[in-house]
Subunit: 255 residues, 2 copies
């Protein structure tokens, strides 16, 4: 906000990180990916307009988002792709690798373990856990599945900072407690339960069933208001752009 003008010192992105809205952080990640693609295509600079269109946001919003991390644009020109990429990376803390532990190697967990989108983006899956004796011991993508009871030891050994929970609902809370005890700071929860964690631990929830149910609602609404003008409140997340309707996702959830 009222950040005093300053050249970046050295190490961490400390001062700059003050007070970035959560919604902005999420979008920064999207910009980052697009910047990576642009860099591959050999682009030197992008204007806010171009980057905004490519990522599906309003250009003013994009500029405001970027303003939270500093003034790295050149007026009359745009943003230097490589430089901006680097700045966002630094802000999001992606300049160092974050080891991820995944608990629950069932259906979804197995897929997540093999998902290349993680390791390729600075989140190597460093540990896998399950309780099923048939699963403990097998290898997935070169990583052996350990028993849940070893979470504290293994996580400590491998410097895990982020946990992902892909267990059935009933097991999630106890697994979560284990992860917290192991010093994990952030948890991505795929289980359909509300996790109780100490204040300093961040939980983020992805609920696939909820996503579908929200879509089902829209189908129903459409059917109901078929020939009528009954319309749901547009809400912040919707919008029409270039004749293109893109309701953004929001895995959303309570609280």
């Amino acid at each position: 906000m009222t950040s005093p003008p300053q050249a970046d010192p050295s190490g961490s992105a400390a001062k700059l990180v003050r007070s970035i809205p959560e919604a902005t952080v999420a979008r920064l990640a999207v910009y980052l990916r697009m910047l990576g693609e642009l860099a591959e295509q050999g682009a030197e600079t992008v204007s806010s307009e171009e980057l905004a269109t490519a990522t599906g946001v309003n250009s003013a919003k994009l500029r405001k988002d970027l303003s939270y991390i500093g003034s790295y644009g050149i007026r009359g020109v745009g943003y230097e792709v490589a430089s901006l990429h680097h700045q966002i990376e630094r802000t999001l803390g992606l300049d160092r690798q974050q080891a991820v532990a995944l608990v629950g190697v069932g259906n979804l967990g197995h897929a997540l373990a093999g998902y290349s989108g993680f390791g390729g983006r600075g989140f190597p899956v460093a540990a896998l856990f399950d309780v099923d004796p048939d699963l403990v011991g097998i290898h997935i993508n070169g990583i052996v599945v350990e028993h849940v009871r070893d979470i504290p030891r293994v996580c400590a050994e491998r410097g895990v900072t982020i946990g992902m929970i892909a267990t059935p609902g009933p097991a999630a809370q106890s697994v979560c407690d284990q992860l917290v005890r192991a010093g994990v700071q952030c948890i991505l929860n795929f289980a359909p339960v509300v996790l109780q964690v100490p204040e300093q631990v961040e939980v983020r929830k992805v609920d696939l069933a909820v996503e579908l149910q929200v879509l089902a609602f829209h189908v129903a609404r459409r059917r109901a208001g078929d020939a009528s003008d009954t319309v749901v409140a547009p809400s912040v997340a919707n919008g029409v752009r270039d004749g293109v309707h893109v309701t953004n996702g929001s895995a959303v959830l309570p609280r």
Copy 2:
């Protein structure tokens, strides 16, 4: 938008559905699940306070959410579990099954196809598609994988209303176009791209890499502001409740 008041024509949940905030819709799905569990446990009624605590929201917010779908509570008592469950189900359009088509049976897609959370909640996966000749023809959970080129025909035959895209990024847009042509009304997109769709089609995006990057940001912030007072803006989605810190998920995305 400015929909004139109107009595519901036939059976559908038309007038109740007028103008429910998107955020509320997502939470209704969460309430619904908890109500299901409560019903299994034999509960007859719940108070807003109980249901709110169980789902991790503020009780006032919960009551306001429920007020959007009507007044089904009993003052001094609470809500009748079965009745409320039914009302929410109706509002979300879950009283009829929605056939889902899944395109992309790779890592993630395969898991989604086998995910019991869908079929069990009124979203039977009715069709699977891929372009890989090695995958076309195989069976997953009793469903044969068809070629992407047959999307229009198969979707029409099986009455698919919702599409899920779990392909690599580059393939997503063309697959999306196919689904739209097949009459799919809503799309859940797991591919890391912004889809362009006609206005009447709803897109919801789930981006796992973004989720992790948001978490990484929180780890970095924590490390940076270790002994300082550097704090991120709490944002609407965070909160402390009973000494429990639960930042909600938000698969979020642009727009």
